[in-house]
Amino acid sequence: MAVSDADVLHVAALARLAMPADRVPALVRELNGILDHMAVLETVDVTSVGDDARTAMPRRDDIVGSVPLARPLAQFAPSPRDGFLLVPRLSTHSQLGATEGDE
């Protein structure tokens, strides 16, 4: 299951990292070296391994009150405006309107 140039480019796109062509071969080589070292896991028998149940999820009461900000968002955001956070528009967003971010 060797990593290819195409894998590195695909994964870099998923991770939103620019990947100049001249960096690809070295990364492919390094990743294959690292993943070769991982191959030993294939030989481990894990058939009887159960779920990890170290702790149960604690729950918080539904009471308004959050960790306060020592400085407001508008003071540290790169591009605040009218209370909003502005970002460059996605170029494929040719049409306008509000979208639901939820997938």
Binding site: L14, L86, V87, G101, D102
Partner: protein, 487 residues
């Protein structure tokens, strides 16, 4: 060929629909932080280190969100998983601060529910399987049309708790999808877990649609349709998308799996803008949150708080010999029933109480767009008014006038009736006087009536009522006139 194009392209094809419903839970605070969930705050006001995804911040689960999710699970007959797992769904979008959404993936809180959608197919009730209900957090809002070449992000909604209810692909028509959604929403409102307001986004529906030739077992390629803002919009969008897919298939093409947006104003389907690289979400268990454990004891506690659901209430009302219409109306929303029953407790005739509640009272509720319990009408006063009608103290038409006064006055119905001269006159002498006068003023009709033309009684009663300015008891007038005809 041209005639073939004009025939219904959908002929011979079966529609297959599965629905994903996102329900915003009615909590005070977000799913994983103490920020308020109130709607309409200034942009980014309801944010904190956690929902802004500041470096180092960590999520802590809202107990109330779990409780409401369990209500959903019990309300739809789901199996609750004693141990469920939150996962990270990884994708980049400006309104997703962490770069991942916390959602349940492999092991949701509830699985295997079912919903009787209230339709009969070949005499059998239509029951739709519900695959799962899982907890997740909402994303923020991206507004693309407010600023030149920039998208504005508001994270007030980021982290608001949702339950996503995913159906099996078991619906076969827009009508079934509509019935599923209406039934689902009704139960959700009874469970009191969400406002279920599609316009404000507290209930959102995505539909998966495919088409296949009748008789084919294998499912066709599905497309996802989003952006519907009403149930009728969902029905129209499904019909439009089904027609589109059938057109592709009839023309010998194949349907490409894609996400589409419904444009309700134009009544059109169009492809969604692509979210580049978003197809591989790289789900993995959220390491910041241990497994969510639900004990039998907790489930039992939630079950005890579960309100009566629509089906049980309908059965109870039907047993009161109310009409199908009355039962449907009284149970349409969760609040009508309690008001109806509060009146019924003081006035035993279910039918007349139902008439009032489904008639005059509902009209006021709808007109004022108010809640039943927020209306300035105590059930006891309505019961007293219905008593007055039953006892013949006031007429039905006078009762309607009194009802209008009940909403603006604190007087009792009887006091209003007396004040406004709406008490029916039942005094024999007074009634006899009016009858005599009417007969004297209309000698021709009086003579024909006396001669046995009984159908004139209606006319004469009306005249007496008019003369009495509506105060005469029409029943007694009727009796009096009958005695004159025979006397």
């Amino acid at each position: 060929m041209s005639t073939a194009m004009e025939t219904d392209v959908t002929a011979g094809f079966e529609m297959v629909v599965g629905l994903e419903v996102h329900v915003q839970l009615k909590t005070q605070t977000k799913a994983f932080c103490g920020c308020s969930t109130n709607f309409g705050a200034p942009p980014n006001q309801n944010t904190c280190p956690v929902c802004l995804a500041l470096p180092g911040a960590l999520p802590v689960l809202n107990a109330r969100a779990v409780e409401l999710a369990l209500r959903v699970a019990l309300g739809f007959g789901f199996t609750v998983n004693a141990r469920s797992i939150f996962a990270r769904k990884n994708y980049f979008y400006p309104d997703l601060p962490k770069g991942y959404q916390i959602s349940q993936h492999d092991t949701p809180i509830a699985e295997h529910g079912r919903l009787d959608i209230g339709l009969l197919i070949n005499g059998e009730p239509r029951v739709i399987g519900i695959t799962r209900a899982h907890m997740e957090e909402d994303a923020g809002k991206s507004i693309h049309d407010r600023y030149e070449s920039a998208t504005a992000v508001d994270l007030n909604r980021s982290g608001v708790p949702l339950v996503e209810i995913v159906s099996e692909p078991e619906m076969r028509s827009p009508e079934e999808a509509g019935a599923y959604l209406r039934t689902l929403k009704q139960i959700l409102l009874y469970l009191d877990i969400s406002d279920c307001n599609m316009e404000e986004g507290s209930l959102r529906v995505d539909a998966n649609v495919s088409a296949r030739p009748f008789g084919q077992v294998r499912l066709g390629t599905k497309c996802e349709v989003k952006n519907m803002n009403s149930f009728s919009g969902v029905e129209r969008a499904l019909a439009a998308e089904f027609r589109r897919q059938c057109g592709v298939l009839v023309a010998g093409g194949s349907v490409q799996q894609q996400t589409l947006l419904w444009d309700g104003a134009k009544g059109e389907i169009r492809p969604a803008r692509s979210k580049e690289g978003s197809s591989d979400y790289r789900y993995f268990p959220e390491p910041d949150l241990p497994p969510l454990l639900i004990s039998d004891a907790e489930l039992a506690r939630v079950r005890e708080t579960l309100p009566e659901l629509p089906a049980a209430r309908r059965a109870r009302y039907a047993a009161m010999k109310l009409s199908e219409y009355d039962v449907q109306e009284l149970t349409a929303d969760p609040a009508t029933g309690p008001f109806f029953e509060a009146v019924l407790a003081l006035h035993a005739d279910a039918k007349s109480v139902a008439n009032w509640v489904n008639g005059e009272v509902r009209a006021v509720v709808n007109e004022r767009d108010t809640a039943w319990d927020a209306m300035s009408l105590e059930p006891a006063r309505l019961a007293a008014l219905i008593d007055l009608v039953r006892d013949g103290v006031v007429s039905s038409s006078a009762a309607k006038k009194i009802f209008a006064q009940l909403l603006v006055s604190t007087d009792t119905p009887r006091a209003i009736a007396e004040r406004d001269g709406l008490v029916q006159v039942r005094d024999d002498n007074a009634l006899a006087g009016w009858v005599d006068e009417v007969l004297a003023e209309h000698p021709v009709e009086a003579a024909r009536y006396a001669a046995g033309e009984k159908k004139l009684v209606g006319l004469l009663v009306g005249l007496v009522m008019k003369k009495s300015q509506g105060r005469a008891d029409p029943k007694l007038v009727n009796q009096l006139l009958s005695s004159r005809a025979t006397g």
